[in-house]
Amino acid sequence: MRKGDCQGKTPIVMAEGENEVRWDGLCSRDSATRETALENIRQVVLRKAEGLRSVKETPSCPSDGLSNTASLDELNKLLVHLLMLSKRCPFKDVREKSEFILKSIQELGIRIPRPLGHGPSRFIPEKEILQVGSEDARMHTLFEESFAALGRLDNITLVMVFHPQYLESFLKTQHYLLQMDGPLPLHYRHYIGIMAAARHQCSYLVNLHVNDFLHVGGDPKWLNGLENAPQKLQNLGELNKVLAHRPWLITKEHIEVSDSFFEVEALMEKMRQLQECRDEEEASQEEMTSRFEMEKRESMFVFSSDDEEVTPARDVSRHFEDTSYGYKDFSRHGMHVPTFRVQDYCWEDHGYSLVNRLYPDVGQLIDEKFHIAYNLTYNTMAMHKDVDTSMLRRAIWNYIHCMFGIRYDDYDYGEINQLLDRSFKVYIKTVVCTPEKVTKRMYDSFWRQFKHSEKVHVNLLLVEARVQAELLYALRAITRYMT
């Protein structure tokens, strides 16, 4: 029995030539193991640096220049990783040692990278965000877990740690879906993640999944476009598209098409995943450094997005064929789509049972996540304390479902207009339907007095509400297919 090693899967191990650096030791919870791993890294880095220096000192033939740049690149990659570790590792010893290594490299006269960024979020000032190292015990445990599982602390984690209760559930679900046993092979899951993230042009998330996809042995050819992926996954393309933008159009035929190649179970898993990724993305998208020209969009944050599609960045576009397909207002949609009544098909009664049947335990995990997101409250609002926020939370939740054509019989939709002002609605709609178009101005313009943590809370709510909306449509289609 080997304890502690089970979680040691690191997606960041890259091929490093002969002088291979193994980062996975750093994820161990055992400080001695980390120590050894760090020492090993230090030696490799120093050796490379020395090598470079000696080349520099003895100017040689031009042909050497090429290999010189290559090894410089290699070294830089390592240094960047070390820099990341020095800032973003939950283990103090790793942070300190990484910094120490960087310093000693600098003393050798080699330029070391410096952090460029503005913290994990573009919208939230860095000083507002928790610094790694100053977290409390609970957060620390979460960080450790996340780091052990992924080998990194990503931006999303750092932002979501405002709400550790939710983060815990989120990480658990994510881990279960992406890393644990399931009906789909691991690389399929990441590929589906790529597909889903690409639909919203989230380059950050696409890159993360591309890395993971390659790490679990995915075929790099698939990354050249959906048409290079197996038929199974291609069939999901259409479903992915509909699910991402207009879930109310999902019919049992969609399920049938995919099903001829997929077990319903696998499909389920896939959809779960779609949701998951989407969700991750939204949480991130809003706060993330994004490459898309958001400034341009700013002026036209009108609701409809029919004609003015951004041409997505190249690397992302290959993952989806039909870029013109986007969210359309449910009500304005030409076709008549019957209203989805929650009283007839709801998550608690129907969705949960179906998911749990198709993909055991996932229903439970997701149910938990919904509950936490929906019920999360600190009974505060801006500067006020002891406030019952349930009405507001319900209004937000139902407003999102309303955008997807889901209706609660027992809700008075007038409440929404009283509680949510226009700028907030614009923000909600953009995040939920076209997260790639969110701007900092939008983010700043709603709820000016509220804390950032509260705004993050709102984002979590938005994300979960949307996930549930999509899930409801997808699951209903599956139910119909099964009966």
Partner: protein, 790 residues
């Protein structure tokens, strides 16, 4: 009792009649309720609210309560209930949170009576008091229950569940003031209607929402609850703490539960997802439903027994927009369909047989199977004491043990453990495996390995001296090669069919076959002497040419006992010999196709192809001399693998596949390989040869197989003190902050390999425990357990 007498009069001496029938509704139903006269039923749903009369042959629509030009949400019913005292009084729960009462006695078309809009969220359930005419109870998504007096405009009292939504409320039938409510968080609460401030009792009944509950009509204090966790539980509420009496595990979440009238232990359930059937369970027999109604095509949303004293009529409404009357006598009874006997064949040939006790008892007089000719009597009967099953059914289990030695699978285990599959040069692997096979008396297999070695290792490796050597040997002890191909030595499972055919041939005609087998039998002692260094030539011919040569050999071969006769001219006969025996797949096909042909016919058939392949043989022989590439044989090897797999010796197929690796893999399609691998791994695991199976998984090249040991690699550990799962670290518990895994020898925390005794669960560092157990057989923790380390 007042109620009882009323009911009896309602039944009015006339017995209910009717048949299993259904009628189509215009829309999906959400709930149904029966009038106390048992002649009418009300169906309610999002867009339906109708009363049907239950007639002898059919349902007849009597009244549509959904009137008005533009139906409001008040008419979108989540639940409906008909008063059991007053035929004119109904109540519905609307999805928008309104509670509506209806008075059928109203002269106008609109029968709506009162409207209570006190709940903020959907009302999930309404319930009339069983004996009180004006008392109505409602339970809503907003977490409140309200009690209404229909003579007043507002609720009389409000009960706060202090939790999420209320899913069901039910007045106790026996206790006037008591009602039960169930909640989405899994709790059940018991309330006194006079005390709205707090509940009398609360307990967690299910994991996840409790969708429904029902009081037992006769047994005071028995409450059945059904939940999303797919369970139906029966609670005894009379005791101080609610006691779980029975638990029925269904296959889907339980949406409704209703006790069956007049049958103390029966209850009916239906599900809200996936499963469309209605089941009637005997709670004492929780695994098989007593009855099953399969009429609906979509989920059943409402069930009701037609009359509180008639157990045979069940009504149901469904999402498939139909209303059904089920008759108990028409129900399908899974118990009847269940196989009353069970038979299972064990790994080592044991046989277990379970049957209803009555069946066994009837037969117990005679000795089982004794008279059966086809089965040799190697079974010993061992009768286990019958296990009575809840007083309802009892069955007897008999186990028949295999007598030691008969058809055991020992060879399989031995082979699996001793084969070498990788890590050495091919020639060595082949030699090793051939040796293993030979030692286990499986000469055909051994020979196959040897041949493989010769085919795939460059011929230069086989010293030419060997040729002479074995020739010499051969002359001394007969026909070594031929001998080692003896069919007789094939494992029973592998070659029994072939053998049968052959022996038929033997007896009926004294052609080649007879001779050969005779020879083989006599020369058994050669097996040992015959080494792995068989001359290349012979083997080649051997693989190539099937058994034709035998035919040629035959004339010289009349006295097999005398070795001299067998070895007349050097190369020629020898080649024949070899050729004979490995039954090539094609040839086997022939045999298998004609097992019923009479002996002589079979002979002619098997002889027919011989001539042709003979010519082929000589050609190939010539070719071989000019150094054929191993590819030349790949077809044969492929066929050989298929042959073994077909024969059931998938072990051989997989082992060869692994050993030869790329040399043959391309010739066999992926799926077949995968199939072989999985069957072999399955077999290995049945024999608990975990290490071997893991090695096979590791060595396999098929993706689907090699990922087998990549899954489920997480090991979950619980703290040894507080019994909670240890999430973050393997050795320190987050909750009780103690070190969980201490080494029993050095008393330090174990952070690496931890080994523990499964008997007393003490353990520690692998090295420490190993060392300790060398000196003592007792547990190092001093618990007195005799630990064993293997």
């Amino acid at each position: 009792m007042e109620k009882m007498s009323r009911v009896t009069t309602a039944l009015g001496g006339s017995v209910l009649t009717g048949r299993t029938m259904h009628c189509h509704l215009d829309a999906p139903a959400n709930a149904i309720s029966v009038c106390r006269d048992a002649a009418q039923v009300v169906v309610a749903g999002r867009s339906i609210f109708k009363i049907y009369a239950i007639e002898e042959e059919q349902f007849v629509e009597k009244l549509n309560l959904r009137v008005g030009r533009k139906p409001s949400l008040n008419l979108s019913c989540a639940d409906v209930v008909w008063h059991q005292m007053d035929e004119n009084l109904l109540a519905t729960a609307a999805t928008n949170g309104v509670v509506v009462t209806w008075n059928l006695g109203r002269p106008s078309r609109n029968k709506q009576d009162q409207l209570f809009t006190e709940h903020k969220r959907t009302v999930n359930k309404v319930c009339f008091h069983p004996t009180e005419a004006h008392v109505l109870l409602s339970g809503s998504q907003d977490g409140f229950m309200k009690c209404f007096d229909l003579r007043r405009k507002d609720s009389v009292s409000t009960f706060s569940g202090q939790s999420e939504s209320v899913r069901d409320v039910q007045f106790s039938i026996r206790d006037y003031f008591t009602f039960a409510s169930t909640f989405e968080n899994g709790n059940v609460q018991l309330w006194d209607i006079r005390r709205p401030d707090r509940c009398e009792r609360m307990f967690t009944a299910h994991n996840g929402p409790v969708f429904c509950c029902d009081w037992h009509p006769e047994d005071r204090g028995w409450l059945a609850t059904g939940g999303r966790d797919k369970m139906v539980k029966v609670w005894d509420m009379t005791t101080h703490r609610a006691k779980e009496m029975h638990c029925v595990q269904t296959i889907a979440s339980v949406a409704r539960v209703k006790w069956r009238p007049e049958c103390r232990h029966h209850l009916a359930t239906c599900s809200m997802m996936v499963d469309h059937n209605i089941y009637v369970w005997d709670v004492r027999r929780p695994f098989v439903p007593a009855a099953m109604f399969e009429e609906h095509r979509d989920v059943t949303t409402g069930i009701a027994w037609r009359h509180p004293h008639d157990p045979s009529f069940l009504l149901s409404g469904s999402k498939d927009s139909s209303l059904c009357q089920h008759l108990f006598r028409d129900a399908s009874q899974p118990v009847e369909r269940a196989n009353p006997e069970g038979l299972c064949y064990g790994l080592f040939g044991d046989l277990a047989f379970a049957a209803k006790e009555s069946l066994v008892a009837a037969e117990s007089g005679r000795k089982p199977y004794a008279g059966d000719r086809r089965h040799p009597i190697f079974f010993k009967r061992k009768l286990d004491p019958a296990e009575p099953f809840a007083g309802l059914a009892s069955s007897a289990l008999s186990v028949f043990e295999m007598e030691p030695g008969g058809g055991s699978m020992g060879w399989f285990v031995d082979t699996a453990e001793r084969y070498a599959l990788a890590g050495r040069p091919l020639a060595e692997l082949c030699d090793h495996n051939a040796k293993v096979a030979r030692e286990l008396g499986r000469n055909q297999v051994a020979q196959t390995w040897t041949m493989l070695r010769i085919i795939y290792c460059s011929p230069g490796l086989v010293p030419s001296a060997n040729l002479n050597h074995s020739m010499g040997k051969g002359s001394a002890c007969g026909l070594p090669l031929m001998n080692s191909f003896n069919l007789k030595d094939m494992t029973p499972g592998l070659g029994s069919e072939t053998r049968l055919d052959r022996s038929k041939g033997d007896t009926r005609s004294d052609t080649v076959l007879l001779d050969s087998s005779a020879t083989l039998v006599t020369n058994e002692d050669n097996e040992e002497t015959e080494g792995s260094d068989v001359p290349a030539d012979y083997l080649l011919g051997d693989v190539e040419g099937e058994e034709d040569e035998l035919y040629l050999l035959d004339p010289d071969h009349t006295h097999p006992e005398e070795p001299e006769c067998v070895l007349p001219q050097e190369a020629f006969p020898l080649r024949h010999e070899i050729v004979d025996t490995p039954p090539g797949p094609e040839h086997l096909q022939d045999k298998a196709d004609s097992p019923h042909v009479s002996g002589s016919e079979a002979d002619t058939i098997s002889l027919a192809p011989m001539d042709s392949s003979f010519s082929l043989l000589s050609v190939s022989h010539a070719l071989y001399d000019s150094r054929l590439p191993p590819d030349f044989f790949s077809v044969l090897v492929r066929d050989m693998l298929h042959f073994y797999a077909e024969q059931g010796d998938v072990q051989m197929a997989v082992s060869v596949l692994i050993v030869l690796g790329d040399r043959v893999r391309k010739d066999i399609d992926e799926q077949t390989q995968e199939h072989w691998y999985t069957s072999y791994i399955d077999l290995l695991q049945r024999f608990r040869l975990w290490n071997v199976s893991n090695e096979v998984v590791k060595l396999s090249t098929s993706r689907a197989v090699s990922c087998l040991n990549q899954a489920s690699t997480t090991l979950h550990v619980n703290c040894s003190h507080c019994k909670r799962p240890m999430s973050s670290r393997g050795w320190v518990c987050d909750r009780c902050h103690r070190c969980a895994s201490m080494c029993a020898v050095c008393h330090h925390v174990v952070k690496g390999l931890f080994v523990w005794c499964q008997g007393c669960s003490h353990g520690g560092h692998l090295q420490h425990i190993m060392k300790w157990l060398e000196g003592s057989s007792h547990c190092p923790a001093g618990c007195g357990h005799l630990c064993e380390y293997s």
